[in-house]
Symmetry: none
Subunit: 191 residues, 4 copies
């Protein structure tokens, strides 16, 4: 009956917030942003509608929250690159892309839809563009180390290839030859 300490409160808050974000990501990816209702998300998360509005001031805020969560995850992954040789880094980028495509297709669908659809806030739009450019920069660095003639364009092309695989996979689902595509891409870049 004693009041929770503020630490416990904080932890509880963070956990609920994360739960909402995950449920919402799932819902947005499955049904689309417009078609996934706040009621549905709250129900799926097992909380009341009103409570969601304690954590996110509106639906768009929730969208941004998801985006930030995903961006944070990507950041975390970068540490895995440290100390690797360039070819290994490139191979790792391929691996990671295909992994995420297989394990979290909803997340990929969400991000891709976000990137294309203009129903999204300008604010979020800029986040997305920035993210995409950062990715390109990273690839560019690698291609420079690998002494490709035109690292920047190679980076764009490499990114495009991976994006295109993702697109095809999202559109065709299980029919898409994911594994074989990984092989051919690795071999195309001599990895």
């Amino acid at each position: 009956m004693s009041p929770r300490t503020s630490q416990q409160n904080e932890a509880q808050r963070a956990q609920t917030r994360k739960l909402i974000l995950e449920v919402a990501l799932q819902a947005f990816a499955e049904k689309g942003y417009a078609s996934a209702s706040m009621s549905y998300i709250a129900k799926e998360a097992g909380i009341s509608k009103g409570l969601s509005y304690h954590y996110f001031k509106n639906k768009e805020d929730l969208l941004i929250g998801i985006f930030e969560m995903l961006a944070g995850m990507a950041d975390g992954l970068e540490s895995a690159w440290e100390g690797k040789r360039p070819a290994e880094k490139l191979a790792l980028a391929v691996e990671m892309t295909f992994n995420i495509l297989q394990e979290q297709p909803q997340m990929v669908r969400f991000m891709t839809a976000l990137a294309i659809q203009p129903e999204v806030t300008d604010n979020l739009k800029q986040h997305i563009e920035a993210q995409k450019l950062i990715n390109i920069k990273v690839y560019q660095e690698i291609f420079k180390e690998l002494e490709y003639a035109n690292p920047e364009l190679e980076a764009y092309a490499f990114g495009a290839l991976l994006d295109g695989v993702a697109l095809g996979c999202l559109a065709l689902g299980a029919d898409y030859p994911l594994d074989k595509m990984k092989q051919i891409i690795l071999s195309k870049y001599h990895l």
Copy 2:
């Protein structure tokens, strides 16, 4: 005195139908299928809400109408391939992709979003998948003629690369180095 001739009616119908389709394509591409309301489309087309339903029995029917219109356009383009050598065909595929990307980005945005968006009917979904697979088959044929080791996977990879460029271009807009990408792709395939 006399009723309109059926010819006049037919012409009127065709014209209004086309107007609605074009406005709707624009609207769906700009705002997304779920967020572009029938009211908005009607207003943009300068007609009454009710009239749209005279031409398309519901929103999904309108979506299908657009899809068929675009598919029809694509069919027309195929005749340009006749009698070309394989390398020329491949170059033409690249050219066409980049052309359409520059001249009709809305159309590309629409088709891409359609392929990803879960808000779309299974019916249309299957059309889209079929369309995508047809494309792959065409590329595959070319790579076979060019005696690539694995024509099918090469076709997938080629398609992915072009799709990825489209995706990047849609996301980054004018910042995307479209022209240079065309060059690097052409050179990658020795065209």
Copy 3:
């Protein structure tokens, strides 16, 4: 190519008008007044929407037209009574009610719905009430001739019994024991 004579025109008009009325009666009875659209009626009648409005200035006018048509039919039937003995008249009333119930259930449904539903114009309402009262008067006359103690109430009761059978038949459809009900009613009134 000579213009139709006004007689021919007149005949044509009358025929088309009748066609519309019959189709509309069917439609109203099947779907209900509110749910049977003018478009549907026009299509069923094989004419254009616009043309129906040449014959009936609006939907309610069409409703009134049907009512008048049905009232006219009832009038025609009355001549069959002439010169009959009271018991025969009563038996005839029963026969006619059951006949119409079997052969034109739609018509009965329509009139019954009209009598109950207040979404109907006051104007039409009064017609219906008048019609019902006329019926009662006729029955009352018969019961007076048959020397029943209270001809007026007997008339109401007799009408109620027939109405109730109609109601049950409309509600239960083929499950309703129509034939047996005719027998028991006839025997109840010693006919």
Copy 4:
């Protein structure tokens, strides 16, 4: 500080639900199912359009809700029959019919219209038929106890007579000789 107790919520819900049901019954009876709009019902109930959909998932669900409410009321009345002699039961059936006709004409109008109207779902239609048949069975039991020659048909005839009175009363309103009809019916069945 604390959320409403579930008891408070429950009470509130029950009250609002009942309000909507009563207003809707009134509206459907007055205007007919198709013509009484959800907007109208909400306005009459003094609540927002949206709230009705919080309680009933659609218009038909509301209709079913009313039907169940009325069926529930009827159930309650049955206990009054216990331990009565057959003649008393029959008299009670007449009494109850006339009572309800005088005190709740809207309810009768609603149920009668429902039985006839084609705008009603098959689902509800079956409920109605079942209800009607149950009634007949009850009457049949009584006539069997009273040793009538053909209890089943007598039950149908008795039901038809009461239904017919209701119909006449609904159509003619205050002009209908309700009280006298009760007397003549009671005397016809020696009650």
